[in-house]
């Protein structure tokens, strides 16, 4: 199907119908991961390390095994010792051995909360008692938490064989520095020499958690013949299947994973923690095992994203033209390699047309939980630094912040800071919309300030499968492989309805399990509406071709003589014959007679995703006595390509912006001197609540991505990229002080107000 250039040609796409799973969700009927019970199920629980870094000398499970009601106890001895295997699967680079060790420690525990044993018992109380009865002998080792301390030459080393890659000469000693990455255009130092004005800044950010309200949950049941069913809350049922098979050495065909409704993921549920463990426990005792993380476990033992440090240098001429730019990003990966330092470097300056730029960085391990993807991984961190520095630059130049960005804006044909030329993009349009918005010129009061910041994310395509079936009565069933975390079922139904020319109410979309639909990559990377949408459209188009053929048979004319219009087969011209239009339902009635069931399944590797840009304007009021930063007004402008369901697009923008607001103002991992997390609960890990926020004005700019039939660009990740700098810039505007450290929590703002320095 060719790109539909005219929005007015669309009947369903762009409207705001009610989502098909909505009724279940507002009545409490929807089944999330912890809501399923299987007959005979046991409660599974995990024993976790109280130490940040220790050798496991001995694990004695005998007392636990002997307890009444305990049906299985496992340690790493029950998990295959798989070799190191790098792969880029779906959401990022992965090492399967690291993932296995993260699920169950082998020989060493590398962070407080690291799993080292698990039990399955007939009740929660017995499972707890069994955990307490497992005797572990540790040899506690010195630990290291923060990134620069972990990089120091005398830091305790987590992995004996870790030799830094990407540096020349190659080190001879192991360290905690996994790798160095660098992306360059031109010569940034030469560029700086041409500058009239230079800003040099250093920032630091803390680790923050995706903080989905639903903890990880799974029920797994293994039959004696190895056939396994898993019901789990996840961003990818195929991912669970593949990773569990890999970690436990099972055939993929023996595992059937049903994706439960998922209570938030944001990247944090794109990997496995409990699933292989529950499966291994079930295999050992022959009964279903249900495992649900507590909130405490979610914080201590599931991946937050990285914290780190960012140094930025930007040089510009008096007229605002940037002549040189540099960023150095050091990110914590947690206990195993894999911080998002590469995308952090690639996105840092992506908004700008630069001839001389270098963004380089280090991936560093330390004794913290292994980081997991979090909405536009890496980009919010480096963008916080760059967009704060840009604000300083605007200030030094005496230039309006939007004007400075417009002067250097990337556009179609610009060579991106990460290398390739940009195709059609919407950054200038986003800036223009921000400038034109009444928020930009609204008056401000005492202790109030305004900040603007912009951001970029690639968005991806990837493997997706969808099927479209015509039912006996002409209604339509759509099955896709993408777990629905934000309303995507509605969008799939809308796109199918648009192609078929039928009302949305006649199309029902569900999410299939791994046995019901073709392989589909994870729900993440802002890919579902783009990639799974593309598969759905292609499946619907294939169905339209079949419907035309069937109509031709019914009319006894050539299939070339049939067109499809508004949900009906029509003769292609006067010569085809004077037939009345044949509605889909009428053709469906004759399906058996004209060849059999009408349907199509399409599997694709969707290419050509369109990148997105956002610009956020934020007004704050800073209380000079308490340092409390109140968000007064928030406007988030974003190029969304084309909004299939505008309400859900707005929702992504509002939700992503809110996570960025929490990241900016309150959220952080706090560690004690023993390397234990101090604030592993929602009371002290403070995410934004309803009373913290005003309404968030989500402004949709549409520069369609012509490589998708409806012009879709991914939208979910871009909105978390600008907020931290927007708020930092607003705080500067309100107080005259530049905050260099996130979060900008009240004690830190108050201290900055006192000392005059942030």
């Amino acid at each position: 199907m060719n790109f539909v250039a005219n929005k007015s040609d669309l009947k369903v796409v762009g409207t705001r119908p009610i989502r098909p799973d909505g009724m279940d969700k507002v009545t409490g009927k929807a089944q999330f991961g912890a809501d399923l019970t299987m007959a005979g199920q046991l409660v599974g629980k995990i024993l976790r390390s109280p130490h940040a870094h220790a050798k496991i000398i001995k694990i004695d499970t005998s007392k636990a095994l002997a307890m009444a009601g305990v049906k299985a106890v496992i340690t790493s001895a029950d998990i295959p010792d798989i070799p190191s295997e790098e792969a880029f699967v779906g959401e990022g680079p992965t090492n399967f051995r690291d993932m296995s060790l993260n699920c169950m420690a082998r020989g060493k525990v590398l962070y407080e909360g690291h799993a080292l044993a698990a039990v399955a018992a007939t009740s929660s109380a017995i499972a707890d008692a069994a955990l307490a009865a497992i005797d572990v002998t540790y040899e506690v080792l010195p630990h290291v938490i923060d990134v620069e301390a972990a990089m120091a030459p005398d830091a305790p080393v987590l992995h004996e064989g870790m030799i830094t890659t990407g540096v020349d000469p190659k080190p001879t000693k192991a360290s905690n520095i996994v790798k160095k990455v660098a992306f360059s255009l031109g010569d940034w130092q030469a560029g700086m020499k041409e500058a009239d004005v230079i800003v040099e800044e250093k920032y630091d950010t803390a680790a923050v958690h995706q903080a989905y309200i639903e903890p990880h949950a799974v029920v797994a049941s293994v039959n004696p013949d190895g056939q396994t069913v898993i019901f789990a809350s996840s961003q990818g049922q195929f991912m669970i299947r593949q990773y569990t098979a890999k970690i436990l050495g099972m055939d993929i065909a023996n595992i059937r994973v049903t994706p439960a409704e998922i209570g938030g993921g944001f990247g944090g549920k794109t990997l496995v923690y409990l699933e292989p463990i529950a499966t291994a426990l079930s295999a050992k005792c022959g009964r279903p095992v249900k495992m649900v993380m507590t909130r405490d476990e979610v914080f201590r033992a599931s991946g937050p994203t990285s914290g780190g440090t960012i140094e930025v240098k930007i040089g510009a001429k008096k007229d605002g033209t940037i002549t040189g730019a540099y960023a150095l990003v050091k990110l914590q990966a947690g206990a195993f390699p894999g911080s998002p330092v590469a995308p952090a470097c690639m996105c840092a300056f992506a908004m700008y047309d630069l001839k001389n730029v270098t963004a380089e960085g280090y991936d560093v391990v330390s004794n913290r939980p292994k980081v997991a993807a979090y909405r536009a991984p890496g980009a919010p961190i480096s963008t916080f630094a760059v967009e704060s520095a840009m604000d300083e630059l605007a200030s030094k130049l005496g230039m309006d912040p939007i004007a400075l960005r417009e002067k250097n804006a990337a556009k179609a044909g610009t060579k991106a800071a990460y290398g390739p030329v940009f195709p059609d993009i919407g950054y200038e349009q986003v800036l223009a919309a921000a400038k034109a918005h009444p928020h930009w010129t609204a008056p401000l009061g005492k202790n109030q300030g305004r900040g603007i910041a912009t951001g970029f994310w690639f968005n991806i395509g990837g493997e997706s499968s969808a099927s479209v079936f015509i039912n006996e009565d002409g209604t339509v069933s759509v099955v896709s492989g993408s777990p629905d975390i934000g309303g995507s079922r509605a969008s799939m139904a809308m796109m199918a309805a648009e192609v078929l020319g039928v009302p949305y109410e006649k199309v029902r979309a569900i999410v299939g399990d791994t046995a019901q639909i073709g392989i589909t990559g994870m729900t993440g990377g802002s890919r579902v509406t783009f990639a799974t949408g593309m598969a759905t459209v292609q499946a619907a188009e294939s169905v339209v071709e079949q419907l035309k053929k069937r109509a031709a048979m019914i009319w006894d004319i050539s299939p070339d003589a049939v067109d499809w219009k508004d949900g009906e087969a029509v003769p292609a011209g006067a010569n085809a014959g004077g037939f009345d239009p044949l509605p889909l339902a009428a053709i469906a009635l004759k399906a058996a007679k004209t060849g059999g069931p009408i349907g199509a399944e399409i599997s694709i590797n969707a290419q050509g995703a369109g990148a997105g840009f956002g610009a956020h304007i934020c007004d704050v009021e800073v209380d000079p006595d308490t340092g409390f930063v109140k968000i007064l007004r928030y406007t988030a402008v974003q190029d969304v390509g084309r909004a299939i369901h505008p309400s859900y697009v707005e929702g992504q923008i509002q939700g992503g912006a809110t996570q960025g607001i929490g990241w900016a103002l309150n959220e952080e991992y706090v560690y004690d001197k023993n390397g234990r997390m101090d604030n592993a609960g929602f009371l002290d890990y403070r995410i934004p609540v309803a009373s913290d926020l005003p309404m968030i004005d989500a402004v949709l700019v549409e520069v369609p991505n012509k490589r998708h039939p409806f012009g879709v660009r991914g939208v979910g990740e871009v909105p978390i990229v600008p907020p931290m700098a927007a708020i930092g810039n607003a705080v500067k505007s309100a107080t005259g002080i530049r905050m260099h450290s996130l979060p900008m929590s009240p004690p830190k703002v108050r201290a900055a107000l006192d000392s005059g320095k942030g």
Binding site: G22, V26, T27, Q210, I213, G263, R295, T658, A690, D692
Partner: protein
């Protein structure tokens, strides 16, 4: 330890169950009564996903013991709709797209209903502060507040 027998009312229905002294009401609702609409997000009363009403008062069921329900009246998400007629709050949540993943939704709807039952005409600020105990990570609360204010207006109009 032997279980304790509790007689109570859940969503208007007389209900009996057995539970241990230390079981939370949330666990009883979900595991014993199979009313899984109330969710556990934190287990410590900080997220509101387990919100129910106890004799009309909004509480976190993870902070109430199963035995405390004796002789009281419990209201959960499962009782908000009347048969197949959605409560205006539920309808407005759907129309305003006030949910994305839907996990916080049951708790929010119960909490919003408790708000409007006690204050049919809240300001936006009053609504935000009342609902501050219900965490949502997906929506940024914008469409939730719009849905609640719209439901309040509709309910006032219907009552008028």
């Amino acid at each position: 330890m032997s279980k304790i027998h509790v007689t109570t009312t859940v969503n208007g229905e007389p209900t009996e169950y057995l539970c241990e002294a230390q079981d939370s009401l949330l666990d009883v609702l979900r595991d014993t009564l199979k009313l899984t609409g109330s969710k556990e997000g934190c287990g410590s009363g900080d997220c509101g996903a387990c919100s129910i009403t106890l004799d009309g008062r909004l509480v976190c069921s993870c902070l109430v013991l199963g035995v405390e329900a004796e002789g009281k009246s419990i209201g959960t998400i499962e009782g908000v709709a009347k048969g197949d007629t959605l409560h205006p709050i539920q309808q407005k949540f759907l129309e305003h797209a006030a949910l994305q993943c839907g996990f916080c939704t049951p708790g929010l709807i119960v909490a919003a209903k408790a708000l409007l039952d006690s204050n049919p005409n809240p300001t936006e600020t009053e609504a935000r502060f009342w609902l501050a105990g219900n965490l949502c990570r997906c929506t940024g609360y914008d469409k939730i507040i719009r849905a609640v204010m719209d439901a309040a207006a509709e309910m006032r109009g219907a009552a008028a």
